[in-house]
């Protein structure tokens, strides 16, 4: 499982993706991923919002995660 990082999320973590190895325990849901990443990088708690995309669609907290999903951390957007 890979988790893509963009914008300030990339700056907080210091790289553009998080890699979970085959042997790693992966977060089972969006909310678990959010908790995991915020525990490891507390700066995420200071953001205005934090969303997760699963297979390039916004996913609510209860959406389950699978090893083959394309996951992305979506910090507050600011296009336009």
């Amino acid at each position: 499982m890979e988790v893509l990082l963009f914008g300030i999320a990339k700056d907080i973590v210091g790289k553009s993706q998080l890699q979970f190895l085959e042997t790693d325990i992966i977060p089972s849901s969006v909310s678990e991923l959010k908790k995991m990443i915020s525990d490891t990088y507390p700066e995420f708690r200071n953001l205005s919002s934090l969303a997760v995309a699963v297979n390039s669609e916004y996913a609510s907290d209860d959406v389950p995660l699978n090893r083959n999903d394309e996951i992305a951390i979506i910090p507050p957007v600011s296009g336009g």
């Binding site: 893509l4 963009f6 914008g7 300030i8 700056d11 200071n46 953001l47 205005s48 995309a53 390039s56 669609e57 916004y58 992305a72 979506i74 910090p75 507050p76 957007v77 600011s78 296009g79 336009g80």
Partner: protein
């Protein structure tokens, strides 16, 4: 309807063709909004902006916004085009627009397109000042 939507993430926006792209024999009105790099933000001089995107998802979200607008209003063509990369002051960074038989529809749709884009499309803007950089809207 797919051919009536222009959805793109590009490196450089060419504003000279926008009206030609939206023009349509059934349209009496075309409304376009262009977002550009402003020199000052809250009194501080901006040197440049850098835009980053999650392209695959951004295109999907932009396409949803265009389709939703076409459901809400009677539109002939819709464009949503966003630039990425480093942009200097005055550079165009986003173009949204719509054409319609009557002007109410294209005005309302155009406003909807830019408002919704700013809320949902995964694009991130970093303001580069003389001595610091700031990810816009990241913090409350």
């Amino acid at each position: 309807m797919v051919d009536k939507k222009i959805i793109e993430i590009v490196d450089i926006i060419d504003t000279s063709q926008v009206f030609t792209e939206l023009s349509d024999a059934q349209s009496g009105g075309i409304c376009v909004f262009i977002g550009t790099v402003r020199e000052f933000t809250q009194g501080e001089e901006v040197v440049s902006l850098e835009f980053e995107t999650y392209k695959k998802m951004a295109v999907k979200e932009m396409d949803k916004i265009a389709s939703d607008a076409m459901k809400k209003w009677s539109l002939n063509k819709v464009i949503i085009r966003h630039a990425v990369g480093l942009k200097e002051v005055e550079a165009p960074v986003v173009v949204v627009g719509a054409s319609s038989a009557h002007r109410d529809a294209c005005f309302e749709a155009c406003r909807y397109l830019i408002d919704t884009l700013k809320e949902t499309v995964p694009i991130w803007k970093k303001e580069m000042f003389e001595n610091k950089t700031v990810w816009v809207s990241a913090h409350p």
